[in-house]
Point group: C2
Chain length 161, copies 2
């Protein structure tokens, strides 16, 4: 999207926003907990088959950091570094995060989680306002990956009861 056509790919900046919605049978308080408790969030957000987790931490307060270092099937190190930006208990979480692969920045995003009561359950609305460097396919890939994470959250909520 950069107008500087002679720049290397990593100089190209793409801005893209998507919103996903997923309804869970659990209460807003449970869904909020799954997004704010370090042990529970680690299980659905970073763990998974084929993923090696070198580190994960979450300091859930405004200004607090969430960070992870991980690899997929022995591949290059991926870094995730977030800062919690806004918290409304059981209703809203906003965080900004950057990612890199093998030391190269690939994106910075602003994510908003909104939790809305839906019967006895919860409508979770996830909006990601992303800034991507270089790869024109990155926004679609991020949306796909985020959709998968919402399904992993469903499994973790069902498992935790």
């Amino acid at each position: 999207m950069s107008q500087n056509e002679t720049a290397p790919a990593s100089d190209h900046v793409i801005h893209s926003t998507f919103t996903l919605e997923r309804t869970y049978p659990q209460s807003p308080a449970r869904v909020f907990f799954a997004n704010s408790d370090k042990a529970m969030k680690r299980r659905w957000f970073v763990e998974g088959e084929g993923w090696e987790i070198d580190s994960y931490t979450l300091d859930f307060r405004v200004g607090g950091l969430e960070a992870s270092r991980f690899r997929f099937q022995g591949g290059p190190e991926i870094t995730y570094d977030a800062v919690i930006q806004d918290i409304v208990k059981d209703k809203r979480i906003v965080f900004a995060y950057r990612m890199s692969v093998a030391g190269n920045p690939i994106s910075v995003s602003l994510s908003t989680i909104e939790l809305v009561p839906a019967g006895a359950g919860t409508l979770m609305r996830y909006t990601e306002q992303g800034t991507y460097f270089g790869d024109p396919n990155a926004p679609a890939g991020r949306e796909h990956g985020s959709r998968e994470l919402l399904e992993k959250l469903a499994e973790e909520l069902a498992r935790a009861g």
Copy 2:
């Protein structure tokens, strides 16, 4: 924009993106410096007639903080807290920031500054991906205020030579 019509105004979340462009006669290196040097950025970014600056700090590195506390004509305290997210010298700066007025969060934004050579000068492209709480007029106000800041930057660049 929240679908929960019974929620108080501050629960409503508005996502909005705008891009501004401004050409400066100074080089990308000068415009980058004006966006990264603490003393110079303070002059155009927070100082101004009617504004009382209680504090300003900038630690310009990825993960570093920029923060200010200020008031307009004796009004309530306004807080600005940014984290630098990406730096490509003389080309790009990405930062995420949150603002509050009188202790109430009003927005979180992801800002991208792109600097593109334009003759002997610089095209600065400023994109802000914003998340606003409650006020439906906030996105238009932010765009207006950002346009004014690009003009203040022009004055500071001309003054500094």
